[in-house]
């Protein structure tokens, strides 16, 4: 198991490279790429804050249209950083421009715009940190959802901190079982089931962010179809990509 951040995401970059190419496949690849990151863009717009005269959806559309119009994807260099960081930076610049426009249009609100722009330009964390916060947001949302599903909330709260981490050693498992008044095996099973469900929720969250279709059920015993395998690989790639930002 690798615990160090990977320098690049080959799957993501293969899609980007396809979008940077030529021919009919370019539009498809570009559409797919933007579709995957559409919700991330929304999250970034909400995260950075936007001028009040435009909605998040309008700004997202404008941003994506700008990328397509300027063919920004074609200018991406794999060696200069991750696509997500670039996207984060692009959204930030886009929002600053939007704030400028809004300031120009509303001279009376100059002071306020200045404050907002400073918030974007100076106080906001670096783009890597922003992505990490996005990942943390996905993580917290999955945990909250798992808590909502849990029948024993108190027990969940006691076990939640062990879900993302590595497996417990036997001493830790024994003492925790004693503290909860249960047996080691029962506790291990509970943690195992929570972890399994947590993984499902995390993957669903990522699939949702990437605008992936729901996974088709291959049926019991049937081999998973190729598109399902691709979908799972896309999610795995996304998870690995997000993971890198925790070392930023």
């Amino acid at each position: 198991m690798a615990h160090t951040p990977s320098a690049a995401n080959p799957t993501r970059w293969s899609l980007i490279l396809r979008a940077q190419g030529s021919g009919a496949d370019v539009r498809v690849a570009l559409g797919e790429l933007l579709n995957h990151y559409e919700r991330f863009v929304v999250w970034l717009i909400k995260h950075y804050g936007h001028p009040p005269d435009a909605s998040v959806e309008e700004l997202k559309q404008e941003f994506l249209e700008g990328i397509l119009r300027r063919n920004d994807i074609a200018k991406l260099d794999r060696e200069r950083g991750s696509f997500r960081s670039w996207l984060s930076l692009a959204v930030r610049r886009f929002l600053m421009n939007e704030w400028d426009k809004w300031r120009a249009a509303s001279a009376g609100r100059k002071g306020t715009a200045h404050v907002e722009l400073e918030a974007i330009g100076l106080s906001v964390p670096a783009d890597e940190v922003c992505v990490r916060e996005f990942a943390s947001h996905v993580l917290s949302r999955a945990l909250s959802q798992l808590r909502d599903e849990s029948r024993d909330v108190q027990r969940f709260d006691a076990l939640a901190r062990f879900l993302p981490g590595p497996q417990l050693d036997l001493v830790e498992l024994g003492s925790l079982a004693d503290a909860l008044g249960t047996t080691q095996n029962a506790l291990a099973k509970a943690i195992c089931l929570l972890r399994a469900r947590f993984r499902e929720l995390m993957r669903e969250a990522i699939a949702d962010v990437l605008n992936l279709d729901r996974a088709p059920d291959p049926g019991p015993g049937a081999p998973p179809p190729a598109d399902l395998l691709t979908r799972e690989r896309v999610i795995d790639d996304e998870l690995r990509d997000l993971r890198r930002y925790f070392w930023a």
Partner: protein, 683 residues
Amino acid sequence: MNPCSVCRAALVETAWGELCGACALLASVSQERELVGDYERFQLLGEGAMGSVYLAKHVHSDEVVALKLAKAELLQQPGGQALFRQQAKLESALRHPNILPVQGSGQHRGQPFVVMPLMEGGTLAEPANSARYATPAARLGLLLAIARAIQFAHERGVLHCDLKPENILFDGAWEPRVSDFGLARSLGTPSIPDFVAVQGGTRGWMSPEQARGESLTTASDVYALGLLLHWLGREHVTSGEVSRNELAASDGLGISPLRRWSPELAWGLEAIARRALQSDPEQRYPSAAALVEDLERLQSQRPLRGQATPIWGRAWYWAQRHPGARNAIFLLLPSFALVTLLMAAGQRSELRSSVLDVNAYAASGQAAAVLYQFRDYAEVIERAAGDPAVQALADGPLRVPTPAGGDGLDPCRTQVALEQPRALAPYAPSFATISVLDAHGCARARISEEPAQPDYVRSTYDWRDYFAGASREAESPERITYVRKAYRSSVSQQIKFAVSSPLFTDGKWVGVLTGAMVATSTLDLPRMKRSQNRERMTVLLGPFEGENTGPHSTPAGPTEFTLLVHPQLRRGRKVTVDEATAAELDRAFRDSTANRRQFELGTALPLQRPDYVDPLLGGRWLGAFAPVGATGYVVLVQTRDSSAIRPSNGLLRIGLALAGASALLLTLWGSFYLWRQRRIAAR
């Protein structure tokens, strides 16, 4: 913010504290799953001699199982992999409700593994499980289930060789399952790799021969079961081995904890543990089956096989096996005791009543006999009183008259000699003493068994009842001889009673003729004599005349009854009945004595006294008193109370024995029950 201790990534602050987002994301990567066959490995659950046990989840069915992976150290040994497979095969063959089954097996990257159901109840060593087996019965049931599983393995030629609390698992329904036959070997296949031999068994849970590395038999597992029994016998079950010191500290074999564990099972548990923990395998139970049989016997409250069960132990087992009969005994035994005692009391009452009735009849008969005897005496005295020669003895002047007589001077004081008593001779044989007194009460003539004292002739006897009564009768138109009150002889000091009659000469009262008998043990009455024995006897009582109160006077105060005939009465001894009895006799027979015709049979019923105390013999007697006509004398027929109720003694003894047994049984049972309740409450 501190980095993650595993991946050094920055931690994320969440509602549940700081979490590692990088680890969380990595854990969500499906390609990062640790797959062993079709199972995803999650959590290490334990380490055995041959493998590590993980919690795993089937990737398709989501079934959570325990997955045992062969240890790398084992696989590095020659034949290690084959041994792991052999043990897996062995465990698969052991299908028993109390043996952890093997669901499947396989190999992952050259590492063999077996799949078993996850035992959510954990191991017996976990403190959470001790509370579930807090009662002695539960622990005994647990041990029995384990022993049955071992017996099952033994019957298939498999030894466990590593029996300990950590290898006793519980499923979700808390059914015990013996697990980890990792060291198990088939009987007769002693060859095992050195690695396993070195690692084999657990210190503190091995039999002596296993610790020495000798060949093993089923007795080795029996020893481990004995240790497990001892371990369960601790006051509070905790994890940890049973140390040799612990064994040595208590009774040589560590038996004493079992007494604290379960007092009611203590004897049986000790016996089983003692036999299972023998150092010599030959001295132990030969197999788990024999141990199981004894545990079953203990559980069903039956005596152990091959053990000398004390009688109280057998009684206890019997009472436990037959609660209905036990309760019936507890209920019926006191009831039988009560009924028997009541019957004995009733029989005694009836016996007393019956004996009193018999005594009353006997007393009436004896009283009649005595009355006839008195009448005989009276007839002799009457005949003598009618004899002129006897009359002449009282008539005429004194033989030596008063030299200077005067009024107020007792004429008897001057008399110096008696008349010749020849005239009395024909009548003398009937009496101890027959004497004639003149009208002054001076003795005129006398024939007696006793020699006369020198002052006899100078004494006045006008105060005696036999004189005073006869002198009173002299004034009566009837000439009747009377039986007089008993008295103490001034000559011999003996107690006597007398029959007297006035003497007349030419119609003039001249004196009194008296015939006296001495109070003796039998009075030589043949009919009374026959009835005398130490348990039943006839007694003659008579009114005592009292102190000298002067002539023609009646003694004041209550009538005093003295014994005249009694088997234990010595001559000269005055013995009176107690005042209460005397008063009762006086009241009962007063009317009959008021009749002046003494020799007529009265109509008074005998007086029955169930609590009469004999003044000579003491003790309680059943007495019946019957008046002797109107003489004032009373015949008493008495039977010793203990003799009268003797026929009921058998019943009484049975009743007392039953009552004693009931009291003892209830006391013992009650004490044991209360003690047991306190033990249970304390536990």
